[in-house]
């Protein structure tokens, strides 16, 4: 089953002190400040959202820049998932504006967000359990051959796409590409979803708690993949409950509490104790 990998795509560079190798360490020691005049890939400007009587978000603003990872922290129910669902077009905000590359945008559904290059890995993982790895990866972007109404799936090309998507991320997939979703573990699902998101040319990668259900090793792998995405120039928004994970990979950290922004830091301006303190105080 081991077909040759696509030679056009170099394997991701090794990261000896990276998150994948056991002990978590900061992925880069010094963090460059955001260059003045840089336009964020995605900007949320005074977003609010309520569900009936509950207020989920009040006046929340944040900016995600290309080549940077923004960690979104906060207690259960702080509004993190609600915020990224707005950024992904799942539902519209009640108030406030979204700006994509400096332009105001209205995202009417997830398909529109995807077309703009916003790729989201949701908390409830998006895997079709009875479809193959290949079909899962190309879902919604299936390659076709033929003409006019006589278009068929190009299954060979789909396999090639899946293979290079996994390769681009440095995922070692040893089982066949015809393995079904039901036999894919949680960590593998995350990897698969990230590979898919990156392969189809996203410029903003959003991940909702990608490491929460994973053992240490798998979590390290997923964090490694996130760093790869950052290195390839994507803007990344990473939701997590794990402060260590946030501190090890993020460039910027935003803390949400009860639907409001409770603090915003560059990673080297804060540490574990400060974050723990803050969340304990405001959460």
């Amino acid at each position: 089953m081991s077909e040759p990998l696509n030679p056009d795509q170099p394997p991701t560079r090794a990261r000896p002190s990276g998150a994948g190798s056991g002990e978590l360490e900061a992925s880069r020691r010094t963090i460059e400040p955001i260059p003045p005049g840089a336009v964020p890939v995605m900007e949320a400007d005074h977003i609010s959202k309520g569900f009936g009587a509950t207020t989920a978000l009040v006046d929340v603003s944040l900016k995600a820049y290309s080549g940077r990872i923004l960690a979104l922290l906060g207690d259960n129910g702080a509004g993190k998932s609600t915020l990224i669902k707005i950024l992904s077009g799942v539902f519209p905000p009640d108030g406030g504006t979204l700006r994509f590359n400096g332009q105001d945008v209205v995202l009417r559904n997830p398909a529109e967000a995807r077309e703009r290059g916003i790729a989201t890995v949701f908390q409830d993982l998006a895997v079709c359990e009875l479809l193959s790895v290949t079909r899962n990866i190309v879902l919604g972007r299936e390659p076709q051959k033929g003409f006019g109404p006589f278009k068929f799936l190009d299954l060979k090309k789909a396999d090639a796409m899946a293979r290079s998507a996994l390769h681009q991320l440095g995922v070692r997939w040893e089982r066949g590409l015809d393995e079904k979703g039901i036999n894919i573990s949680g960590g593998e699902r995350q990897s698969l979803a990230i590979a898919r998101a990156m392969f189809f040319g996203s410029s903003l990668l959003i991940l909702d708690e990608p490491t929460s259900a994973l053992a240490v090793r798998q979590a390290g792998k997923v964090l490694d993949h996130i760093l790869t995405a950052r290195d390839q120039g994507q803007a990344v928004i990473l939701i997590t409950h794990n402060f260590r994970h946030a501190l090890s990979v993020a460039d910027d950290i935003t803390v949400l509490a009860q639907g409001r922004v409770a603090g915003h830091f560059r990673r080297d301006e804060t540490d574990l104790d400060a974050l723990t303190d803050l969340v304990a105080r405001v959460g």
Binding site: A126, V127, L130, L139
Partner: protein
């Protein structure tokens, strides 16, 4: 047959016994295996019961006439069920579109070349309405189509006044839709096989097919990945009702008539056929070829029992037994076999196995909750 297991062979060459064992195991895991078994067993049983009458060409022709009409209808229902929906209105849509076809020919004097496509278009429209209501108001399709089933049946009874209507149909059209073919089989069988082939290609080799399966397995996942799940739903309902209309037109051509009860009960027969064919009631997985075999099973029961001199009500009972048996085979036994290790180092991966496991998991969740 021999090279199929070979694709998954490990480094060592397994013994012949293991190859056959694995081939059998895999066959049992196919969605179609139950229906194939049913066809074979029923053939043997009915041949024993009426050795002079059952294994004859005339019998096969009757079986295929029934199987073709019900099968065409069921193929739509199968695709829809794989996409995660139900359609209880197909029988009523079949009746109403048959009526439209008859009235256009009889009262408006239109040629069937016009009347038939119009009837199919009306079917598509009725299906589109089902789909629109399901998508727009987020109501379960079971309820929506229960409603439209009653509505269209009521309309049909009102329009016909409850009386059968007959119509003269040009012989050529009759022959093209349902007339005798070479060897005496009806043309409807050709349509049935052609539609089976097209629907299989659609399901397994097209983008829409991938979306249908994804819609049935994980609607939210599909939507979040940019699959237009609502459009898929509407297309499925349009397709299902259009196929119901095609089945209706074939019946009109065969009987030269329509009546108020035309198609009644076929909606549930179609579900039975689909389930016998190995499609999961919970959606996401199934086989059009399985449905084809399911329809043939149905035809065999109907004709076989008459020839065996069984009382009329026996038909329903036996059908029911086979449906329940098929579901047990398609889920429980297959699930156990899926969990069993493949023989002799073969690869594990098998769609049917995974489907069976998932169906089992869903059932266990249901029991727990």
């Amino acid at each position: 047959m021999t090279n199929e297991p070979a694709s998954g062979v490990a480094r060592t060459v397994p013994s012949r016994r293991i190859v056959y064992g694995e081939a059998l195991r895999r066959f049992m895991l196919r969605p179609e295996s139950t229906a194939i078994a049913a066809v074979l067993i029923l053939f043997v049983v009915f041949t024993i019961l009426s050795p002079a009458l059952f294994p004859t060409k005339l019998t096969y022709i009757s079986i295929m006439a029934i199987a073709s009409e019900l099968g065409i209808l069921s193929i739509g229902v199968t695709l829809l069920m794989i996409g995660g929906h139900f359609d209880l209105s197909v029988g009523a849509v079949l009746g109403l579109t048959s009526y439209v076809c008859v009235v256009l020919m009889r009262d408006f004097g239109l040629s069937p070349v016009i009347a038939a496509p119009v009837a199919v278009a009306v079917g598509a429209l009725l299906g589109g309405l089902n789909g629109y209501v399901v998508v727009r108001f987020r109501i379960h399709s079971f309820v929506v189509t229960l409603g439209t089933m009653l509505i269209w049946r009521g309309v049909l009874i009102a329009l016909t006044g409850g009386f059968p209507m007959t119509v003269d149909i040009p012989v050529v059209f009759k022959n093209v839709m349902s007339g005798p073919l070479i060897f005496g089989f009806r043309m409807s069988m050709v349509w049935f096989f052609a539609i089976t082939l097209l629907a299989t290609i659609l399901l397994t080799r097209s983008r829409l097919g991938n979306w249908i399966q994804a819609r049935g397995q994980n609607e939210n996942a599909a939507r979040n990945l940019g699959v237009p799940v609502d459009r898929v739903t509407i297309i499925l309902f349009v397709l299902t009702s259009a196929l119901a209309a095609v089945a209706g037109i074939i019946q009109v051509a065969r009987f030269s008539s329509v009546d108020a009860l035309r198609g009644e009960g076929m909606e549930l027969q179609a579900v039975a056929v689909t389930v016998i064919g190995g499609t999961l009631l919970s959606g996401g997985y199934g086989s059009v070829v399985g449905t084809m075999l399911g329809a043939i099973t149905f035809g065999m029961i109907q004709v076989g029992l008459v020839l065996a001199g069984a009382p009329g009500h026996f038909f329903r009972t036996l059908t029911g037994v086979i449906v329940v048996g098929a579901v047990i085979l398609n889920t429980d036994v297959a699930r156990r076999m899926a969990r069993s290790k493949p023989l002799g180092g073969f690869k594990r991966s098998s769609a049917a196995a995974d489907a069976a496991i998932q169906a089992g998991a869903a059932a266990e969740k249901g029991e727990a909750g």
